[in-house]
């Protein structure tokens, strides 16, 4: 039965016999699957479909055609953009891994003071508020940023950190490496200590132990993070556009979808290509994990044994951690400086400092903060509920077509926010509430859009968490007479708690700074979240400081929530360990 655990998929020959046995999943499971499918159809597939069907229509007649895809393949710009996107995404995964691996390893494997703080700080880059993050980054690393001005002054050289594709890779790696960090750390914490001890007893140690035992066991977490980074970078349009890199796919789609007065199907064709590539990437990562069993039976106890470091080891570890933290937190350091700066222009540091910007945003930011908290927490909650359910259905049942739930939810990553926003307006604006106002004007629609856009993050985290739990635990519970529901509630969910929380935090934090779909859907200032307020400020020269101040508030807010959730994880693990 162990073979039928996590990675055993319907396609494996041995599964066919089991399928007949389990084909009729319990009515409850079918109902849940249908419910999720209905949710995804209603809030993802239909709205997006109403926008991107244009990709398949012929100009003039509106008939079905694939000629637009032929145009895509024949246009040098698109082909160049495609390869650029692929290259940037792959390199971003590599660079992000370089940032994430040492942090995750050091903080989970060793007795390391401030591990929790590092986990929280390492999470911050994900909360890069729109516009200000890039401005801060340019002020530090740009052609005439702090670093280059100093280098030019001292040595007469400049390093093109932020130019072209390399700039995009650098910023994306800094921005998204927390996906790897957070998923990998959770996975490392969940590894059964007995595995490691067994290996040690057999004489393995040091790097070999890591390479052969620890890292492979943490693979689901790493793959979950790395595939997210890949897909996210592939589909991200804000960073390349802010660095004025236009020959990548997502920016091309955005530029075409949002140009006024031009009816060009190519923007939607590119969206379809983005969706297909994202699903393909997820499929490849699922395939890479196929036929391997990552589940471990023993749970709890804080995962890997934490080793005490020798003094010199600890010195190196601190140096490495500090260096990485400095690099990945640079945007936030820049942001903080910017929020206190009077004028910062063509100089290594601002001319002078002031508190005035905080004064300006203090009064009006309260409503934004409140809205952001409400929207992002509801969206995060929806995401972990759906994410857990989908992960369970995919990994634990044999429902036909269950992978499609996973893929459909993941496809949300590839859909430009503006396309989703237009789709929502198109689908829900005609639906009226009892008082006559359109449904799309109701703030809950913003929450749904955020939930759909951030669902893939929570889903990957939940998926990885469930992959690490051995099905035999559930079978044991069921053999002892527990019902399926009770097993899920008392066994599966508690064991997945870390992963679920990681998923919630990721969805929550990124939803809190999302802008592109929000900008389409916000209908009044009273309903606007922080990111919108920030956008409004960042459209004028005088708004740069206040915008940065608002950005700092956003980051602090989300960071506090993240820190709190880390505290909960630690605490729950200590409770578990004590109860053992």
């Amino acid at each position: 039965m162990a073979g039928a655990t996590t990675a055993g998929r319907a396609q494996t020959p041995s599964a066919s016999s089991k399928r007949s046995k389990r084909l009729s999943a319990s009515p409850g499971q079918v109902a849940v699957a249908l419910g999720i499918a209905a949710f995804l159809v209603l809030f993802l597939i239909v709205p997006v479909g109403t926008v991107i069907y244009v990709a398949f229509t012929e100009k003039g007649t509106g008939e079905f055609t694939l000629v637009n895809f032929l145009d895509f393949a024949q246009t040098d710009l698109f082909i160049r953009s495609f390869w650029n996107s692929l290259y940037v995404s792959a390199m971003s995964v590599v660079v992000a891994s370089v940032f994430a691996l040492p942090l995750a390893y050091i903080t989970t494997r060793f007795e390391f003071r401030g591990a929790m703080l590092i986990q929280t700080l390492g999470f911050l880059p994900l909360i890069m508020p729109p516009f200000v993050g890039a401005v801060a980054m340019l002020l530090l690393f740009g052609r005439n940023g702090t670093v280059n001005l100093l280098l030019d002054d001292w040595f007469g050289v400049k390093v093109p950190f932020m130019e072209g594709l390399n700039g995009v890779i650098f910023v994306q790696a800094v921005h998204y490496f927390p996906f790897i960090l957070i998923n990998l750390s959770t996975a490392l914490r969940n590894i059964d200590r007995a595995m490691e001890e067994a290996a040690q007893n057999l004489g393995s140690s040091g790097f070999r132990l890591f390479r052969r035992i620890v890292f492979p066991l943490a693979m689901p977490g790493y793959i979950a993070g790395a595939s997210l980074v890949f897909v996210k970078v592939f589909d991200d349009l804000a960073t390349p556009l802010l660095l004025n890199v236009k020959d990548m796919l997502a920016p091309q789609a955005y530029l075409r979808v949002t140009s006024i007065g031009i009816a060009d199907p190519m923007g939607y064709v590119i969206s379809v290509v983005l969706i297909c590539m994202s699903i393909l990437a997820m499929w490849v990562s699922a395939r890479a994990m196929r036929g391997k069993d990552y589940a471990t039976v023993q749970r709890g106890g804080g995962g890997l044994a934490k080793r005490r470091m020798r003094p010199w080891e600890s010195a190196i570890a601190y140096a490495v951690v500090l260096l990485i933290l400095f690099l990945v937190l640079a945007p936030h350091i820049g942001l903080l400086l910017l929020s206190f700066a009077t004028v910062w222009s063509f100089s290594p540091l601002p001319d002078a400092f002031t508190l005035a910007h905080y004064g300006r945003v203090f009064g009006e930011s309260f409503i934004y903060v409140k809205n952001t908290m409400v929207y992002a927490s509801i969206a995060g909650l929806i995401d972990v509920v759906l994410g857990t359910a989908i992960a369970y259905l995919v990994l634990r049942t044999k429902l036909i077509g269950r992978e499609w739930l996973d893929w459909a939810a993941t496809a949300a990553l590839a859909i430009p926010g503006v396309v989703l926003g237009i789709g929502y307006l198109r689908t829900f604006y005609d639906v009226r509430l009892p008082n006559g106002t359109p449904l799309a004007a109701f703030w809950i629609v913003i929450v749904l859009a955020l939930a759909i856009r951030r669902l893939p993050y929570a889903l990957r985290a939940c998926y990885a968490a469930l992959q690490q739990i051995s099905v035999s635990l559930e079978e044991a519970a069921e053999n002892l007479g527990a019902t399926k529901l009770r097993t899920i509630r008392r066994v599966v969910l508690p064991l997945m708690a870390g992963g679920i929380l990681a998923g919630f935090v990721t969805s929550f934090a990124t939803a809190a700074v999302e802008l592109s779909a929000t900008l389409m859907l916000v209908q009044s200032n009273a309903d606007a979240p922080l990111a919108y307020g920030l956008y409004v400020f960042m459209q004028s020269a005088a708004g740069r400081g206040p915008g940065a101040a608002l950005g700092v508030i956003a980051v602090l807010l989300v960071a506090l929530c993240t820190f709190a959730s880390h505290l909960i994880i630690e605490k729950s693990q200590k409770v578990k360990a004590a109860g053992r």
């Binding site: 895509f72 246009t75 740009g142 006024i260 060009d264 063509f346 604006y429 409004v536």
Partner: protein
């Protein structure tokens, strides 16, 4: 009869009065691309002048705003569209999303510079104007020992190579107008030649209008082609930037229009009236806004050095601008620029650099053959895939509007134009490099 109409007028007046009283209780919803710096003073002033009315200002970029109005037309909740770019209003008007309204204000002339202030059919009205010019970061210019530019042509000089920036005309309606003015002023071929010579010096082409002043303010780019108020408001915020109107510049109006089926039509019209009234026009003079009023009388209240396009002929009046010509080829011009410049910027810059180097070499050591090669190279760079007639022909313009007729697809044309430009830039680079060798 006369008495009749007088009575009617009195009635209308009373109705207006009470109407205004009715309008006072209500919310006017505005979709705008203007920043808080502009909308806040107007919101305060308007709400003060009309107690009981609140303005709900929704800030969206122009593209998102147009899409929003378009997608929500079935159940429209927006009263006013308020933005710079006239082309956005043209699109809204074309789709029947605007409502005719002729503001009551008096004393507003037909044209500002050479550009008509109001839509001839009164679907939208100009309420302010702005001129295009060159903004630069003073610290940047001093550190790189760059001279102060005075005219568009200056920016084509070799010293400014890789120091200039502009927003893509396809993304910024006002930049589009500037380009169109150059094309109309200098003629199609010469206009593109000038544009490409300047563009060859660009370090970046931004996707948002505000991206240019932002980059200049932070010193990432030295010089930017921007609307005047971006520079003025940056100066007001303390940034070390300077600004100059070139000897020939364009004046572009900023507009306001009432949305079709506006839920608060009376309130919307009151807002439009307020914007063009003397009181509303005076708000434009505030340092954080600093746009040019369309009512010439208001300039009397402006500071002494305030640019006045109604008196200063260099501000727009010298340029001729034909709206019909512009309208027919709007999309074609934008896509031409994107395909031959924006997306080919690396190739264009390489060719430009080679030409600069060759000319520097020739200046030191004259060589007739090399000169001829450089001229060829410049012609190659300037070459355009379509003529002026073709650009406004229905066959080509139709490829961009998704019209009912079949015909060339946008993607096909784009690919042709892009490879046309790329090929020629590479040839130009080769010729210029050859010339440099000859002159060595």
């Amino acid at each position: 009869m006369l008495r009749h109409s007088a009575a009617a007028a009195a009635l209308v007046g009373a109705a207006l009065f009470t109407g205004a009283a009715f309008a006072q209780s209500g919310k006017v919803t505005i979709v705008t691309s203007f920043s808080k710096d502009v909308t806040d003073p107007f919101k305060q002033a308007f709400e003060k002048a009309n107690p009981g009315v609140t303005l709900d200002v929704q800030n969206r970029n122009t593209n998102a705003g147009v899409k929003f109005v378009e997608e929500t037309k079935a159940n429209n909740q927006v009263d006013i569209f308020w933005a710079s770019a006239p082309d956005a209003f043209e699109v809204l008007k074309g789709k029947g999303l605007l409502q005719k309204y002729k503001p009551k204000a008096e004393g507003i002339p037909e044209k500002i510079g050479s550009y008509p202030i109001n839509d001839p059919e009164n679907f939208y009205s100009g309420f302010a104007a702005s001129g295009y010019g060159i903004m630069w970061n003073d610290r940047y210019a001093k550190a790189n020992k760059l001279p102060e530019p005075k005219d568009w042509q200056d920016l084509a000089k070799p010293v400014y190579f890789d120091h200039v920036s502009m927003a893509a005309p396809s993304r910024s309606g006002t930049t589009h107008l500037t380009i169109e003015t150059i094309l109309q002023g200098e003629g199609w071929d010469q206009g593109w030649r000038t544009l490409k010579e300047v563009s060859g010096n660009f370090s970046q082409i931004t996707e948002r209008s505000f991206g240019v002043p932002e980059a200049v303010n932070s010193g990432q780019v030295g010089f930017g082609i921007v609307i005047d108020f971006f520079a003025f408001s940056s100066q007001a915020s303390g940034f070390p930037v300077k600004f100059v109107y070139p000897t020939v510049t364009t004046i572009v109006p900023a507009n306001v229009g009432v949305i079709a089926n506006a839920p608060n039509k009376a309130g919307a019209e009151a807002f439009v009236d307020y914007l063009v009234s003397p009181a509303g026009q005076e708000v434009l003079l505030e340092p954080s806004i600093r746009r040019l009023p369309v009512n010439p009388a208001v300039y009397d209240k402006a500071p002494a050095d305030y640019p006045n396009p109604f008196k200063d002929a260099s501000l727009g009046a010298r340029v001729k601008f034909d709206v019909d010509v512009s309208e027919k080829r709007t999309n074609v011009v934008d896509v031409l620029y994107d395909q031959t410049v924006t997306f080919q910027l690396d190739a264009l810059k390489a060719a430009t650099k080679a030409i600069h180097d060759a000319e520097a070499a020739i200046a030191k050591k004259d060589n007739a053959e090399a000169k001829a090669l450089v001229k060829e190279a410049r012609d190659l760079v300037a070459a355009m895939p379509v003529t002026e007639q073709e650009a406004s022909s229905p066959e080509i313009a139709g490829a961009f509007t998704g019209g009912k007729q079949k015909g060339a697809r946008q993607a096909e044309l784009e690919q042709q134009w892009a490879s046309f430009a790329k090929e020629r830039y590479q040839q130009a680079q080769a010729k210029a490099e050859q010339a440099q060798k000859l002159a060595r």
